[in-house]
């Protein structure tokens, strides 16, 4: 009886570890979708509302959940007098990235917006933001494929590793 309980515990642990390792693959598409949604809000605020960038960033942050919200809220906070958009955005990306499921490519795409943010007229800003959304949508499509491939794989790896441990020590 004790052996059965021990084996069940090992299996559950293996399953849990597999889930944790698969987590970033599962969360990344949703977070990339949130980023696109927030950028769409930013675009609307700039194009239709002519809102100042800190206000537009705050509204974009309110439209989505964490961690995407952190990126926009942090940029709004840093856009205090004395810091330009490029520096504020770059620092906010550094704050957002470690807690997100995004990969290095996603980070590089986000960082590319910084030097362009708020520097030109509305039409130009709209072009940059739409391009960014398209690039993030491409990343999301790739993230969905990766999710289908690796989410199940890591779950299997966890369970199978646990089963192997049970067989070795049985």
């Amino acid at each position: 009886m004790r052996e059965m309980a021990g084996a069940a515990l090992v299996l559950a642990t293996g399953y849990g570890i597999g889930k944790v390792l698969a987590g970033p693959f599962a969360r990344r598409p949703g977070q990339l979708r949130d980023l696109q949604m927030a950028i769409a809000v930013l675009d609307t605020e700039i194009w239709h509302g002519c809102s100042m960038l800190p206000d537009a960033m705050s509204r974009a942050a309110r439209a989505v959940a964490d961690p995407a919200a952190v990126l926009f809220a942090e940029t709004a906070r840093l856009l205090a007098p004395g810091l330009g958009a490029a520096e504020a955005w770059s620092r906010a990306v550094d704050r957002f990235y470690p807690d997100s499921a995004c990969d290095e490519d996603d980070r590089a795409i986000l960082l590319s917006l910084g030097p362009l943010l708020g520097r030109s007229d509305r039409e130009d800003q709209r072009r940059h933001l739409q391009l960014l959304r398209e690039r993030l949508a491409g990343q999301e499509a790739r993230a969905m494929v990766a999710r289908q491939r690796y989410e199940r794989l890591w779950s299997y790896v966890g369970v199978l590793s646990a089963a192997a441990v049970i067989l070795v020590f049985a």
């Binding site: 700039i46 809102s51 960038l53 007098p81 330009g84 007229d121 800003q125």
Partner: protein, 318 residues
Amino acid sequence: MSPAWVPPVVLERLPAQLRRCLVRMRLEDVEEIRLSAGRPLIVVGRGGDIFVTAEGEPTCRQDGALAVTWELVQDALQLMTRSSAYALEEEFRRGYLSLPGGHRVGMVGRAVLEGGRVRTLRDVAGLNIRLAREVRGAADALVAVVLEDRVPRSLLLLSPPRGGKTTVLRDLVRQVSDRGYRVGLVDERSELAGSVNGLPQLEVGIRTDVLDACPKAEGIYILLRAMGSQVIACDEIGDEDEAAALADAARAGVRVMATAHASGLDDAMARPALGITLRQGVFERVGVLSRRLGPATLEEVLSIGPHPGLRVRRGGKG
């Protein structure tokens, strides 16, 4: 350390390198800070142009001055626009930004045209930060002229650029307002009252209604209809619409106070729109300012009627 001579509201909108330099600078009466890409930093004071080193020391050597780069100008512009250039299309079209406190930033770069008119400025390569100075008493010599017999008189203030017109008009508005007259102020460039979110940051008097960032011609009619102003004031009259609105206000029984670029009455008469208002008798008094004894030196005050060939009275200092 004594306080910096450049106001904090301007300092915090400058890149760190420039901020460090200007905080250390110990020049009194700074009027302008000129940033041009590829050229030395120039600070304009009462005595004229001064080069300033990266450490904030005045120098007469051009090559020892802080070198202004393209990036420095772009960073300054980012901070001054709060990274929201897209929201300031009208300001870019007109070529200047207003900062809180009435400070004004002129811009030069490449003009983008649409239908033969300037749509916006791109590649901004130069900024001229003009600092607003609130000088209480700057209009003391004019108050007696404007409020002669306790009846406000319409007044036009003339001077070449940097002659102190705005400073004198602001103080005149304050004094007229505080002496019991309802003044309507159309502050198109937010220089006179330095309003932030509609609230004046500079003293313009307890009975002064400020219409901030409003085109002058439209603003004059709004004040005329809505606020029951006894005196309407605005800065830098130039085009025909503005002159016509002022003339209309004068005909409606309101006294008007305005400024214009001209070195004297003859130059003002030669300017198309301004000349017409002068001939129509919109203004009863004309004050001429210069920098002869420093900014806002009152050279003369002229009493004029509908036919301003006759100069009735002269006064003023200097």
